[in-house]
Symmetry: C2
Subunit: 208 residues, 2 copies
Amino acid sequence: MASRLLLALDETDPQRAFSVAEAAAPYLAGIKVNWPLLMHGGLEMVGRLADFTSVICDLKVADIPNTARLIAEAAYGAGAAGIIAHAFPGAGSLQAIRNVAPERDLYAVITMSHPGGGEFFDIPGLVAVAREGGATGVVAPATRPEDIAAVRTAVGDLTIISPGVGAQGGDPRAAVAAGADLIIVGRAIYQADDPGSAARDFARALGD
Amino acid sequence: MASRLLLALDETDPQRAFSVAEAAAPYLAGIKVNWPLLMHGGLEMVGRLADFTSVICDLKVADIPNTARLIAEAAYGAGAAGIIAHAFPGAGSLQAIRNVAPERDLYAVITMSHPGGGEFFDIPGLVAVAREGGATGVVAPATRPEDIAAVRTAVGDLTIISPGVGAQGGDPRAAVAAGADLIIVGRAIYQADDPGSAARDFARALGD
C-alpha cells in the first residue's frame, strides 16, 4: 500500500537535509519543509527536494490575502506540491492561496501539537473556514487524538495530516485510528543514526 | 519629533525595494518587510535594508516554539530589530522568540486588518498571551480603531503598531487618536510616483 508517512525535514543544514531526504524518500508519501530550512538554503531547496518526492511547504501562512497570494506564488512556483496555511486568519487568505494553484494541495491548520497550542482554536469554526477557503486537507495534532476525531467528524473526506509523533510524544497508530490519513514524523527520523531504516520502520508500522 | 511612520515594504523586486527604502528612510521610524520580499531577495535583504533604518521582519510567525526559535535566530541574526509573530499559537512560541534576543523587539498580532480577519481573535485573551510571551509591542489594525482602543486599554504602555492605512482604507489620525504609536503604510508610499515625498507627507500628517 502507499506510504502514510510524511517526513518533517526540520533540518537547517541544506546538505544534511538532502542526505536525509535521499535515504528516507523510498518510504515516504512526501517531505514537509518549514521556514528555517528555506531561510538557510533558499527557496530553491523546494525544487531540489522535489526530485526525491512530493514537497509540502509548511509555511503556516497567517497573513492578509494579498500577502498569502504572493507567498503561494513563490512556493508553488518553486515546485511545492502543497502548502500549509493557518485557517485562523479566515477563508479569504486560504482562497488567495488556492487560486494560485487549484490543482495542488492546500492544508489548513485546525489545531496545533504543542502544549497550549489549542487554547484559541475553535475546531468547528476553523473547519468551516478550511472548507470555505477550498482546502484539500487539514492539519490536526497526533498529540491530541480526540482533536483528530473531532476534526474527522467535521471535515468529511478531506485529507487529515498529523504532526506531533515521535519526539513530541504522539502515538501514530492512535492518530490513524482517530482518522488521520498521513502521519508526520520529524526528529525520530532525521536525527536517527540511519534515517532510511527509521523511515522504513515508521512506514511499515503505519501500513499494517 | 520622532517619526510615527513605518513603511510596509511589500515589494517583491529587491532593486525596487532598495530604491524605495533609500528615498523614504529619512521620514521613517522603520521598515517592515514580509516573506514575499525575503523569498525573492533572500534573508540578506534584512541586513542591506538595515543600513537605511530599523527593519521589522513581519513573518507572522505562527508555529511551535522550536520552529519559532529557529526562525527568530535566522531573522535577528540577519539584522532584524524586531519580529512580528502571532499570539494565537500561545505564549510558548512568543517566549521562544523573545529568548533569542531579549534586547530587541517582538510584536504580537492581536487582530488583523483584512475583512474577516477578526473572526477568531479574542482581544483580551491574545493580549494576555502577548504579555506572558514577553512581547514589547502588539499589532492591531487601523481599519478598526475600536479594536485599537480595546487593545490600548488592555496592553498598558506596550507599543501598538497599526497596519491597514492607505490602500486598505484606515485613517491614520483616527488610529493614533485611538492609541496607536506607529502607523504602517504600504502601497500609498511604495507605489507612489515619488515614494520619498509620499513618506514625508504621511510622517508630517502624523506628527502634527
